[in-house]
């Protein structure tokens, strides 16, 4: 197939690029102590949280933006960003879905998240974060009957301050890195989950984040705690409107799994990637980390990253508990001028800890895709094992794939395996499908999905379908 034809296939438009017209309560751009105090006051936060934010801000002033990633972008002016934006509401906020601004609900409908129907039919509880404020939380009652706490972060601040104080920042400290520190100072909302001992969360939890107001950064903070012997599966989906300027998204996610607990965290990230010339798009600088704190605990990260102009994220696992397991399954697709530098860190501390890394990078157009991963085995991690598989698929002549695996093994009894491959969609595969009467576009999608299969099968069923569709949309025009 010729390159122009293939390009035509990959370039279908971004389908979530509309703006919702709602009066927003937005603070003027800029960042100083008064902004942090304002956010904290609006959230009616306890003193310990304000103090924590302020320490983070002071620390952030001493830090420099990191530039070690395989990414290129113009300097970000952190004083040009507005750090708080919330849709205006009457009174204290919606009591039920009926109180939610219909325009907001329409927005979710267009994104394919009809809160009423889908949530009920699919048995998914959705905590929708619209800009900085959670607008609706469904299924809260059923969850609370099981003892599961699932609520907006700002609600947890009011209702469960002790849990927050105990766990917040214990996996990603406010000093962690430039973006995480910034987030610690100015985060506005996010999700909070606590699953009590021995409870299997009765449904998949899902948060649909959405950036709406122009010139605002979105800084969510998510904290998930799985107490001893519990299980929870959490889904996160993201989209954002089309704009010419770049928008910053610097989220932090912390997961904590205690003895025998399991957390499965799945992401389908489809932030606006910018246009064909690379104008606009989200800068996605995200810190995600889980700690297997207890014995036999288990954390899995599964991500499908198709959006954002820049993706910088390394969902990681600290394997502290004996026999704990960390997993990372990733599909990252870059088309046009998108750049991704993504991967994971597996830090083995406990004895007999195991980790698995499966990374699938797909580059098309002028996309650049880097896998960056660290497997670190400390002297205490006797019998630790890691398996890493890292595959890249290239489409066209102008894209790039890069692999940066770092290994630090300080226990001679550890087993570490690494496999890597780089390939192109072969003419033979494409022609084989065409000869069976399958359209080129469908053939390409089929081959790429096949390439990603070992990751997709880790996703919950409905997400796997969505991921496959998203991949198809993102690939339009990208084969060569």
């Amino acid at each position: 197939m010729s390159t122009p034809e293939l390009n035509a296939l990959v370039n279908r438009g971004y389908q979530h690029g509309f703006v919702t017209d709602i009066d927003a309560d937005t603070v003027p751009p800029g960042l100083d102590e008064s902004v942090v105090r304002l956010i904290s006051r609006k959230k009616k936060e306890p003193q310990f949280l304000l103090d924590w934010r302020l320490r983070a801000l002071q620390h952030w002033y001493t830090m420099r933006e990191p530039h070690w990633a395989q990414l290129h972008y113009p300097a970000i002016d952190y004083n040009a960003i507005s750090y708080y934006s919330a849709p205006k509401q009457k009174g204290d906020g919606p009591k039920s879905l009926a109180d939610v601004d219909p325009k907001l609900l329409a927005t979710y409908d267009r994104l394919g998240v009809p809160l009423h129907e889908r949530a009920r039919l699919a048995g998914v509880a959705v905590d929708a974060v619209f800009d900085s404020v959670s607008v609706a939380t469904t299924f809260k009652e059923k969850l609370s009957a099981a003892g599961v706490i699932f609520c907006p972060f700002s609600e947890a601040v009011q209702k469960h301050p002790a849990l927050l104080e105990q766990y917040l920042g214990t996996v990603v400290p406010y000093t962690d890195n430039f973006y995480a520190t910034l987030n610690s100072a100015v985060f506005t909302d996010g999700s909070f989950v606590y699953v009590p001992p021995g409870v299997r969360c009765p449904m998949e939890l899902s948060t649909y984040f959405r950036i709406n107001a122009a010139n605002t950064g979105q800084f969510e903070r998510t904290l998930i705690i799985a107490d001893a012997g519990s299980y929870v599966s959490y889904l996160e989906g993201c989209t954002a409107p089309m704009r010419d300027e770049n928008q910053l998204h610097a989220a932090v996610v912390e997961l904590i799994a205690l003895d025998d607990a399991r957390i499965k965290y799945s992401t389908v990230q489809n932030w606006y990637p910018g246009d064909e010339q690379g104008r606009g798009g989200i800068y996605n600088f995200v810190t995600k980390r889980g700690e297997c704190r207890g014995r036999n605990s288990h954390i899995s990260w599964t991500q499908v990253e198709t959006g954002s102009a820049i993706t910088w994220k390394y969902p990681s696992c600290i394997l502290r508990g004996e026999n704990s397991i960390g997993e990372f399954y990733s599909v990252a697709l870059t088309n046009n001028y998108q750049q991704a530098d993504t991967g994971t860190k597996m830090i083995h501390i406990g004895a007999n800890t195991r980790s698995t890394i499966v990374s699938k990078g797909i580059s098309a157009g002028h996309g650049q895709n880097a896998y960056r991963g660290l497997v670190k085995i400390l002297p205490s991690a006797t019998g630790a094992r890691n398996f890493t598989q890292c595959d890249s698929l290239l489409m066209g002549k102008h894209c790039g794939a890069h692999t940066f695996p770092y290994l630090e093994v300080r226990n001679p009894g550890a087993t570490v395996e690494h496999e890597a491959s780089t390939s192109r969609i072969s003419e033979d595969q494409l022609f084989y499908c065409l000869q069976r009467g399958i359209e080129a576009e469908d053939a390409v999608n089929m081959i790429v999905s096949g390439f990603c299969r070992s990751v997709f099968k880790e996703l919950p069923m409905e997400f796997a379908v969505e991921a496959q569709n998203l991949l198809a949309v993102s690939l339009e025009g990208a084969v060569g």
Binding site: S2, Y432, R436, G437, I438, A440, M446, S449, G450
Partner: protein, 257 residues
């Protein structure tokens, strides 16, 4: 043979090149519905090239001549359009497509053709019922369907899978490129069985083969010898037996002369 009708496949003075090298140098061939033709010839004579040119493989460039299929200009159609019009190529070396479910590919292919012909698409259950009957005929274990396309298949399994696909797609024109190569005698019989089950008055089959042993099981109506890019001899199946005895050299020399 039945009374003469318009040929289903009509190739006239076809010239084609691959990578700038002329390979087909004036091939003419008429195949009527209901007929089975065998195209034989030494290595490098252009047999596979002919199959690829008819299927529309990129890189196989037609210089001159024509090929029509049921009165349509075959060469003007995209490869996928040729396929949906009823042309099936059984590959000599079927490619592996890792992670793509064998049954899924076949269902997509079948439904693409059905859509084209205004037929309702088969759902997963209807498809499975259809494909099951064919797997039995081909002595294929059902677990095959759930594996990646040709992924980790042995040579014989790949060939049987090709015939399975053909049985499901029910093409009007089947081009089988060295489907017999690499098969042991039992597998050869299974494959021949599959091919024979498709023989009917509405369909034609072109077997590209190097050896005549397949022709013991799928008896052709006509045998053609391709040498140096041209058909140098045509006959009935006794020609294949003669080739078995005498080899190709005597014909190649004639072609060069």
């Amino acid at each position: 043979m039945s009374e003469p009708s318009a040929p289903m496949l009509e190739i006239r003075d076809l010239h084609a090149r691959v990578g700038g090298q002329p390979v087909l140098k004036g091939v003419s061939l008429s195949v009527r519905a209901g007929e089975v033709h065998a195209i034989m010839g030494p290595n490098g004579s252009g047999k596979s090239t002919l199959a690829y040119v008819l299927a529309g493989r990129p890189g196989y460039e037609v210089i001159s001549g024509s090929a029509s299929f049921e009165g349509r200009d075959l060469l003007a159609l995209a490869p996928e359009e040729r396929a949906r019009a009823g042309l099936f190529l059984g590959f000599q070396y079927p490619v592996e497509i890792p992670g793509v479910n064998n049954a899924y590919l076949l269902k997509t292919a079948l439904n693409a053709a059905r859509r084209e012909h205004g037929l309702a698409e088969l759902d997963a259950f209807e498809f499975l019922a259809l494909v099951r009957s064919k797997t039995q005929l081909m002595h294929i274990d059902e677990s095959f369907l759930g594996r990646g396309v040709n992924e980790g298949f042995s040579g014989g399994e790949k060939k049987r899978n090709e015939i399975l696909q053909m049985l499901v797609l029910e093409p009007k024109l089947a081009l089988l490129d060295e489907t017999d190569s690499g098969l042991d005698i039992d597998a050869l019989k299974v494959v021949a069985n599959g091919v024979n089950s498709l023989r009917c008055a509405e369909r034609c089959i072109v077997l590209v083969t190097h050896y005549q042993r397949l022709l013991d099981h799928v008896v052709p109506d006509f045998v053609h010898v391709l040498a140096r890019g041209r058909i140098v001899r045509s006959g009935d199946r006794t020609l294949a037996l003669e080739l078995e005895r005498r080899g190709y050299d005597w014909l190649s020399e004639q072609a060069a002369a």
